[in-house]
């Protein structure tokens, strides 16, 4: 990804807005953009979701493959999660091998899901030591207007929750829905104009500083954290956004539940 020139005027303006408790698009400090979540929209994927957050649009698709379990874990299947931000998503994204930014995106989302334990890897085993399912979650951005992290994480968990294990296709029994026991949700906060805000858009990302990503489970347990970009933050600042993340993640979890109808 090419890093575009950052306008000094934009940085100044964001600082001035922050002093007046305002944001560049008129939102409140902890207010997210409108979120829409659609599931089961891609015919070829075993599970899929599309998330729109303002002008940020991403897809997630789940595929399954048969694998031989690792010798040290003969009773476990696998989960693989990768993000790809292709040049379709914005003029700064480039073709070629995945950029560091893409890889970070994929890994942070992966950790949140993996560590929440929402997928029981033992249930993915078909014949111990011989055959198991590998769940492959691909995240795909169509339009990047900031905060791909949260959009990807939301699409990821929703896609997994709609996934059907394609046993018939692989001739290992009958199809059944993938069991996803928890709903880990990521909330991202960007330092913009010297204060953290939730769900930064592209302008705020460009004119802002560091970002912090928090993935929380159903019971507010912390499953993954990531601090990105240049910047320094205090323990108090972190405590504040952690409290905010608890509120926001439960809101988003309700959205997932309502879309999936359970």
């Amino acid at each position: 990804m090419t890093i575009p020139m950052v306008s000094k005027l934009l940085r100044n303006h964001l600082r001035e807005l922050a002093l007046n408790d305002q944001r560049i698009d008129g939102r409140g400090r902890w207010e997210g953009r409108d979120v829409s979540l659609e599931v089961d929209i891609l015919d070829r994927a075993e599970g899929s979701a599309k998330v729109t957050m303002g002008d940020t649009i991403v897809y997630a698709g789940v595929k399954f493959q048969l694998m031989t379990p690792y010798p040290d874990r003969p009773n476990e299947g696998g989960l693989m999660c990768g993000a790809e931000v292709r040049p379709v998503a914005g003029r700064n994204w480039e073709a070629g091998p995945p950029s560091a930014e893409s890889i970070e995106l994929g890994r942070v989302v992966d950790r949140g899901i993996r560590e929440s334990g929402c997928i029981d890897v033992n249930s993915l085993c078909i014949i111990p030591g011989e055959k198991a399912w590998q769940v492959i979650l691909d995240l795909f951005a169509i339009s990047d207007d900031g905060n791909l992290f949260d959009a990807f994480a939301l699409a990821a968990i929703a896609a997994l929750k709609t996934a059907i294990v394609p046993c018939e296709k692989f001739e290992v029994g009958e199809d059944y829905p993938l069991s996803v026991s928890k709903t880990p949700i990521m909330c991202s906060y960007h330092k913009v104009g010297n204060r953290f805000v939730y769900d930064a858009n592209a302008q705020e990302e460009l004119g802002g500083d560091e970002r912090i990503h928090i993935t929380l489970g159903d019971d507010n347990h912390v499953h993954s954290l990531q601090k990105g970009l240049k910047g320094i933050f205090s323990a108090d600042e972190f405590a504040e956004i952690m409290e905010r993340a608890k509120i926001k993640s439960s809101e988003l979890r309700k959205l997932v539940d309502s879309v999936l109808g359970d």
């Binding site: 891609l42 015919d43 070829r44 994927a45 899929s48 002008d55 649009i57 897809y59 698709g61 789940v62 595929k63 493959q65 990768g82 790809e84 292709r86 040049p87 379709v88 998503a89 914005g90 003029r91 073709a95 091998p97 995945p98 492959i136 691909d138 795909f140 169509i142 339009s143 990047d144 207007d145 296709k169 592209a202």
Partner: protein
């Protein structure tokens, strides 16, 4: 052919497995402006194909060695999302995608007024989210709509459609099964206003008569598809 000859894909009434007649095209929708951050964009669904095209530019061509002093270059990238097919596609370099990107660029370069933008490039990003058969046709058709949406000057749109042969019957717009088990495939890119061609491929086995029928089916279908393209552009991306 290939041991699949016994699969019956056309019934006694001449209807295909999905209920279409020989000349009938799968349902098509086109929507412009779907990638808000792009200079122009379009989503086209065609049967269960789902393709998104975004346009960026014209912008300075980098690296400098790809610059043309007298015209712009089209930087076309056709790509299939990993989850777009029944077996997952590994991301990364792919000969098939490269070839399709190239023939798509060749086709579009014949209609885009490139000489207006010397030393520039126009990026055409074609992403297949869901593939059924005929994705190269969908990609090319959608790319021409997206270019128009981006305000890039063109002498015409491009309509691309394929006909082929299944169980010795020539049919238009092959679906997945017909594409897999059929005996021939003839994709074409037609300029709807002049009837000229900018894209042509073919593989399989067609008699001269069958070839002519497939050709005529394509031309006929192109006219129908063009109406949908025009309709989507007249809406201007606004509902």
């Amino acid at each position: 052919m290939g041991g699949y000859g016994d699969i019956q894909m056309i019934d006694e009434n001449g209807l295909r497995m999905d209920g279409r007649t020989a000349t009938q095209v799968r349902p098509i929708t086109i929507e412009t402006g779907v990638v808000p951050v792009a200079d122009g964009s379009c989503r086209m669904t065609w049967g269960t194909n789902d393709v998104i095209v975004a346009i960026y530019g014209p912008m300075e061509a980098h690296p400098r060695k790809i610059q043309r002093q007298d015209r712009a270059v089209l930087d076309v990238r056709y790509n299939m999302a990993p989850f777009s097919t029944s077996d997952r596609i590994r991301p990364g370099f792919n000969r098939r995608s490269r070839e399709i990107s190239k023939v798509t660029a060749d086709a579009l370069e014949s209609v885009v007024l490139l000489e207006l933008y010397p030393r520039s490039k126009i990026r055409v990003e074609i992403e297949v989210l869901c593939a059924e058969a005929g994705t190269r046709c969908v990609g090319l058709t959608a790319a021409s709509v997206a270019l128009a949406d981006a305000g890039i000057p063109m002498s015409d749109l491009v309509v691309s459609v394929a006909s082929g042969k299944v169980n010795d019957v020539v049919v238009c717009d092959l679906n997945k099964e017909e594409d897999n088990y059929g005996e021939a495939d003839l994709p074409m890119g037609v300029l709807p206003n002049s009837g000229e061609l900018v894209f042509l491929q073919m593989d399989g086995d067609l008699s001269p008569e069958e070839f002519q029928t497939a050709w005529d089916y394509n031309i006929q279908a192109a006219s129908e598809i063009h109406k949908i393209m025009v309709e989507s552009l007249r809406k201007g991306g606004v509902d």
